[in-house]
Symmetry: C2
Subunit: 326 residues, 2 copies
């Protein structure tokens, strides 16, 4: 259980600190995740080191109180989620994360102890994944708490969504559905899996599942291609089953349409033997992927395969919202 | 005069468009400023080209309705300002801007025509300064309109704030004060000036003036150093004089303490002849800089020099707010 974001007691609010002290505290909370100027905060820009892998990936995602997290989410998990949403995007390109800048927009009545836990959670996550937080910005806005994080990374071979052809295999890294029960902030970004997959010459396309498989998967399909999914192979999360028991939808519905799975979905060349690929993957990563279908030549985008019969799925049941435009 | 940001008429709101159509429109409005995927929007990350100058500068700044702009500011100018605030930071490092990602947080009742003008204004500014907008994110939040922009750039010799020593000259690129009368969104980021300055071996330190000279200048001073400013040399903007005539403060007060000048303040080696430096600068850039003082050994941070007498200035009269932490 988290703590409330805002306080009516001015003594506990960020307003009580003033700008300079607030910045000092944030740097203290970021600790080892934030290098000293000019590599980090303290000048007009951060200066990135020339010695590391060149930056060739950039992504941005936001996290807003009341939308992406609420009081049921621990503050530290919310802070980590802001970074992990972006880590998942780097993973989806087969990349390695490098540096991040954070823009926080917050009300003066934001609790200092909430912000501390949020920032420390983000910093711990950054250290875990080798990310340095090199810059930031704080802006006041009444009644608001949210942030945007831009993450820079490197990929020797950036894997886009495109590349899958008719006949190619479709696979996912893990179980889907029901993220609202906790997975939406407890997930592990699939950086190891993404990096391993990007090194496989028979990997065609890849993305992370954030808006529900049924919606996102369309992005991996070539023109004239549809996804034929084998219902029996779709990995259902325990949370999908648990939700289904409550709300009358099926676990399959949840796995296909719930958002924020943060698993990777990818396509593998039709020439590849999926059994051999799965064995290689499991040997490298300790857990097998799930081959869930194939790209077929078909009008429409997604078909579900049940007892060798193709069933249509109606698009638009996925998580519809403003969202990622990069 | 701008237009209002929100509308009570659902037919004119971004809510009426839905996610997919809104994203399509934004890409259309960005036009030539936004390259196609994978260089731009449309995948999990943008893939930056390897052929250009390597990214070694990163900065982020936010722009929030009601705080950084209001209905008196044309929507196109507000959109341009979001980018220009960051361009000013790249200028302050002596760098060249390259790519940007934008995170917009907006209410469903945001007017479509406001968002169009805002986005087109940002795109026109990007084209003017050679910036590509390669990624973005859209997030809903009730009653809110704002954005954060992260700008990547390159500098062969990044100029930090530090480097000034006792005896060095202090100069600024242009007139100060009164930005609230329009300059705060009409300013030109000093990229040409910053790049030229960074190429001068006798340039010591540099930053942009965003929180008022009296506050910002402290960042350029070494330990044990103070700024002795010659009041007669301080360039006062017409707006500073106009404001002074209205509010009873002096134009000098406005020049020293108003925020959002977006001029560069820099230090030049004490070995340099300021007259010769000014001539070289004017020949290259068409307009002379203003040498406004020197760094002296002194307790305290800023002293004003009037008729050869040092007057103390009380810090804390500058623009105090949450702000830049990088």
């Amino acid at each position: 259980m988290g703590m409330s974001v805002f306080t009516a007691n001015p003594a506990n609010s960020v307003r009580s600190l003033g700008e300079r002290e607030l910045l000092n505290r944030i740097r203290e909370w970021l600790g080892a995740a934030a290098p000293a100027s000019p590599r980090g905060m303290g000048d007009d820009c951060a200066v990135l080191p020339a010695s590391v892998a060149p930056v060739n990936l950039v992504t941005v995602d936001a996290l807003v109180y009341g939308r992406h997290f609420d009081d049921s989410v621990p503050a530290a998990s919310a802070g980590a989620k802001l970074l992990k949403r972006n880590l998942s995007d780097i993973a989806a390109m087969g990349g390695t994360p490098l540096s991040a800048v954070v823009s926080l927009i917050l009300a003066p009545e934001t609790r200092v102890d909430f912000l501390e836990a949020f920032t420390r959670g983000m910093a711990a996550c950054a250290l875990e994944y080798g990310v340095t937080i090199v810059g930031g910005d704080l802006t006041e806005a009444p009644g608001f708490f949210g942030g945007s994080l831009t993450l820079l990374g490197h990929a020797a071979r950036p894997i886009t969504r495109k590349g899958g052809q008719i006949g190619d295999w479709i696979a996912v890294t893990g179980a889907l559905g029901g993220s609202i029960l906790g997975h939406h902030h407890e997930f592990t970004p699939r950086l190891r899996e993404g990096a391993w997959l990007a090194a496989q010459p028979d990997l065609c396309g890849m993305m992370d599942v954030t808006d529900g498989l049924a919606k996102d998967l369309c992005e991996l399909l070539p023109v004239g291609g549809a996804a034929a999914l084998d219902l029996a192979e779709l990995p259902l999360s325990e949370a999908a089953t648990e939700l289904a028991a409550r709300d009358g939808l099926s676990a399959l519905d949840h796995a296909l349409t719930d958002g924020e799975d943060y698993e990777l979905v990818f396509t593998v060349s039709k020439e590849t033997d999926p059994i051999a690929f799965r064995a290689r993957y499991e040997e490298a990563l300790g857990k097998p992927p799930c081959f869930i279908g194939k790209i077929i030549a078909h009008v429409g985008r997604i078909r579900l395969l049940e007892a060798n019969t193709l069933l249509p799925i109606t698009p638009g049941t996925g998580y519809e919202h403003f969202g990622k435009i990069n």
